[in-house]
Symmetry: C2
Subunit: 397 residues, 2 copies
Amino acid sequence: MTDFAATKNMFFLPDGVIYLDGNSLGALPRAAVTRVEKTTRDEWGEMLITGWNKAGWMDQPTKIGDRIGRLIGAEAGHVAMGDTLSIKVYQALASALEMRPERRVILSDSGNFPTDLYMAEGLITSLGRQHQLKTPAPEAVMAHINEDVAVLMLTEVDYRTGRRHDMAALTRAAHAAGALVIWDLAHSAGAVPVDLAGVGADFAVGCSYKYLNGGPGAPAFIYVAPRHAENIRPALSGWLGHDAPFAFDLNYRPGAGIERMRVGTPPVLQMAALEAAMDIWDMVEMADVHAQSIMLCDQFIAGIEATCPALHLASPRAGRERGSQVSFHFEHGYAAMQALIARGVIGDFRAPDIMRFGFTPLYIDQGDVQAAIAIIADVMANRLWDQPEYKTKARVT
Amino acid sequence: MTDFAATKNMFFLPDGVIYLDGNSLGALPRAAVTRVEKTTRDEWGEMLITGWNKAGWMDQPTKIGDRIGRLIGAEAGHVAMGDTLSIKVYQALASALEMRPERRVILSDSGNFPTDLYMAEGLITSLGRQHQLKTPAPEAVMAHINEDVAVLMLTEVDYRTGRRHDMAALTRAAHAAGALVIWDLAHSAGAVPVDLAGVGADFAVGCSYKYLNGGPGAPAFIYVAPRHAENIRPALSGWLGHDAPFAFDLNYRPGAGIERMRVGTPPVLQMAALEAAMDIWDMVEMADVHAQSIMLCDQFIAGIEATCPALHLASPRAGRERGSQVSFHFEHGYAAMQALIARGVIGDFRAPDIMRFGFTPLYIDQGDVQAAIAIIADVMANRLWDQPEYKTKARVT
């Protein structure tokens, strides 16, 4: 049984803040401060270039990859860290399209996070505009799966509403039609149990700065199914994905399995922060996290619906059908979120009218949820959001 | 006049070490320790998601880009940080090839750093193998410039020998033939004066963990000439290169100028370390660094040639023709370098037989060079390298 009081103690949270935005940027593991300092001072400073071997920097991408792999049901040795999620989407999609050269459709949905669609657009243009990117509504995806589809590329949990796709059913249907599947787990990893091996996913990608708490700009991850790992061509064929990077051959020869999805030099300081977060994750079972998440989200929905009639639930009501977030529609959602942030309840706003709240059982408990409900109820009942200073949009919320 | 005694004091160097490998991984700026700690604890920890605005994380890539831009002669507002050098090479090359659709040759050289060639290979395959990558010997590049060449892609300073290309002459010749030019400044930025605007480079890329001292895994930079910046199509069209990333549009629309070469979330902790390094660079003039570098390299060459007849100079003898490194051929170079590292002189080895020593005036002075010469002379005169433990190759040196 996961001890959530213990994990909560392992995070730093500022006084007077109830942080319901761990789905955007996870909170700071206390140990990350000393861990990053140690890597900076004792490894970079003292070991200098020898840190690549002595401190194990070179192997971090696959070592940490395996620790995340446990949380997403990946086979050991098939997850690597590096780059950003956008780059990892590109790698997965480029490799997948080459495996279905006779097919011309990339099927996604209109709820996918935009960067996934943008990277696909860019790749399609580079490949000579022979492919088509289809983005039906999320609920219509299943009906669009057919034998024209080369790749089904979806984000499991919708970043605005928290609606979950049925990974097993969609993967099965895509495979039955001869298509490959890429799952973006940005809002799944560390939020809900994922069973990549069990559902038979071909590729998966995700970031580590949300639920995984790796810190701002933490590296992304990529998973390639063992049945494909030795066969795919890496489109971004960088030297650290070479079979022998330090032989400095003039020609590229892909490394074994997931190693070929590495590109350039890994971000060692970011990896150090992420390692501190993974020390906490190693103590945690995803089934416990999910049960706790559903309980907190249900408590929040009940509390808000009982006190804030102007807020309308944008997330699925059934716990199993959503990720670890709850969203509400509200016409003045942007201003209301600014008013909440000013009062220490940090969620975020997503256009056009969504107030989004993330629930992260590792450091948010029932007391936090109860306190947040009371503040939101006050802001709504007394129209505290109706102030000019809350209506000017900043670049990021 | 740059005060090199002052800059040396601003770096941490371990006791008993003479660090001649700053061309591979720069030394630790003392201020980076507290700077990274502050970003971790006071920004990530205290500000959480609001750090993107409050702490200025979102603008770091172009703010730091401009500070590096000064060192490489770029126009203000035309350099952005992010990703790795391999990714930036890919971006520059993909955009450049589209600007010369009727041409089919990428001209590089056999002395280029392998990842540049590997990324080009990968791109050529993605584009349907219609292009050819030519890699003549470095001294034969000029003779290969003709009207078949779409892009001339070169690393100014050879990573093994330190030989510099003539940027101005090669750029002029390429432009006269109607080709575009991409300069890789990995071993130039912070090592030698570069005048991108003056030579009329089309694109430039580089890393910040070598001479720039940004730390292990520090982000790369990319420069796009002002005359191209608003016209190029970004092949890696990620959301942070979108004109309005937080509008979450479903279709990509490139951001203004260099902003479109951003891809995903910037590595905030790495950026913090790099900022500490840039605080030192802001005190420095590249002309002074170059003069000091030539003096130190000349001192080193004279000292080694006077004491170590078995070592044969692999670098250009004339200071203006080399970067800030000196390389020697020696049949037992690998073992000799291990013996030196065991005695505190850290350089590195590059296959097949090159012992490479980097000279970084910001923290290496004449006394260091003299002490290094004495140790190398002792190792060579007494064959101290001829020990079994120095002959087993590690993955990285």
